[in-house]
Amino acid sequence: MQVNKSIFIISLIICSIGFPFLANNIWLSIITTFLIYSALSLSQDLILGKAGIYAMGHAMFFGIGAYTFAILINTYNVNLFIAFMASGIISYCIGLIIIYPIKHLRGDYFLVVSLGLNIIFINIINNDPFGLTGGPNGIFAINFPSVGGLDLTGAKAIYFIALIFLSVMILLFYRLNYSKFGRAIYYLNHDHIAAKSVGIKPSLNKLLSFSLGTMLAGFTGAIYTLQYGAVSPEAFGIEQSILLFAVVIVGGQGSLIGVVAGSFVMFVLPEIFRSYAEYRLLVFGAAMVILMVIRPNGLFPSKFGFFQKRHLQQK
């Protein structure tokens, strides 16, 4: 079993490194989109699946990251790396500011508030009060500076940036269950009264998981801007938020494989079957209903266990 797993992981790494040299540009762009949206769905999963916060405005933080990156580069000619860091950090700060006053809200209330905030966000970028966001047209034809003589806007370069970013996120998520923070949010998510009775701080962990999720979404937004060289409001609306929410629910809350598989189903299959576009939503709607009936915990329900086997063997 262990050997099979290593073989699988090694071949996956080889395939993902070799892929851009074999595939054509259309496929490369589809798979890059898939990598970006997987990372985005994972950041939503940290909030929804792992921490159990019913936030449905995640596209907003994706948008904040994307717009920050675009504005910093287009208007202020900031260094690419600094702009990238800034997009994550600004998303993180806004996430923190938003969650702080509403951290005591539960379930459905939180969902309504986050959805409302997303709508406000879209209104702000559409109306462009500060003359930065370009209104409904967004910002396009962004000229990215090269970094140390490397052009980072080529399809292959973006593919690798997205791949590295997703790999880091997968590592983070894989190890989360083994960390003190990951365990705390698991206990709080499953029974917050029992968790509090053993001394686990609810608000601190809720703040942290939400703001970290929004930070990761901000970084993902920057990579998205890098791929398309443009940002416009429709990519960050509530439809996107609902789709992201659905990815986590359909894939399996808190499940790494489930969420990646879910983003494949939601974001890649529609690209492949583009010629049947008019039936797309019909098929997906039906598939989602069927899936929820036969596998109510998602495509690949999460398995949780956090004592490593090595420790279990010790007496």
């Binding site: 003190k180 698991y186 053993v198 001394g199």
Partner: protein, 254 residues
């Protein structure tokens, strides 16, 4: 030495007075019973001690700290641990992982150490795992450590909850009907286990309906009725107290 001091505690839910001017005192290393008919305010009192409810008036002092406005997690960190009337465990987790929750606050690694499985993390995990074993041994549930909680019998789940509460060596353990749903032999075993826990220098407060268990275990028994403390004393005194008998059986039996 006084461990927990409750002074003039009252709790009101709208028009309902759940606790009415209760004062009691728990001393170190003793077992206390709290009895009373259904709806007399026993669990409300527990919830006030553990911080789930904010009392309407009065004061609770634990080891020289006033805990009246403290959050439940702060009170737990001070050394008061509790179990619940209905079992509150994560059923998808194994017994070991559930017990570990009680020790979570004392685990010492940071996220970077966990991320890369560094030495500090591995040592910490081994230390925690030993603590889990120790708690499980005390409650005699070691063979079940690797099983999921949902596959276990009710009596064992109860013990897992107690193990989670005592793993951090609390100073006060508050048990809400620990023997509910247990059969006679399990009750005898539990009585024995609670005595073992007391030997670890833990003060214990138990809500229980089984009078036999209360009288074998407790040094002092408090009786609540309609939110009032109607009697307190040794189990024999309580069993012969007319007010207590009338509260349970009605006036004609008193």
């Amino acid at each position: 030495m006084t461990k927990l001091l409750i002074q003039n505690l009252s709790k009101q839910f709208a028009a309902l007075v759940a606790l009415d001017n209760i004062s009691l005192e728990l001393e170190t290393n003793k077992i206390y019973g709290l009895i009373g008919p259904n709806g007399s305010g026993k669990t409300t009192l527990f919830n006030c001690i553990s911080g789930v409810y904010k009392p309407s008036s009065g004061n609770i002092t634990f080891a020289h700290h006033s805990i009246i406005n403290m959050a439940p997690e702060k009170i737990a960190q001070l050394g008061i641990r509790r179990t619940f009337q209905t079992i509150r465990l994560s059923s998808e987790l194994t017994v070991a992982e559930n017990i570990y929750a009680g020790y979570h606050h004392y685990s010492k690694h940071n996220f970077i150490q966990a991320l890369f499985n560094l030495k500090g993390y591995r040592q910490d995990e081994i230390h925690c795992w030993r603590e889990v074993h120790r708690a499980a041994k005390l409650l005699d549930i070691e063979p079940h450590l690797r099983l999921k909680v949902k596959t276990l019998a009710y009596g064992i789940q109860r013990k897992v909850e107690i193990a989670r509460a005592i793993i951090s060596q609390p100073q006060l353990l508050v048990l809400d009907e620990p023997a509910a749903g247990m059969n006679e032999s399990e009750k005898i075993e539990l009585t024995h286990i609670i005595k073992q826990i007391q030997l670890q220098n833990i003060t214990i407060l138990i809500i229980e309906h089984d009078m036999h268990m209360i009288s074998t275990l407790c040094d002092t028994v408090f009786v609540l009725n309609h939110g009032k403390l109607i009697a307190s004393g040794s189990p024999t005194e309580i069993l012969n107290n007319k007010q207590v008998i009338s509260a349970y059986m009605g006036d004609e039996h008193a």
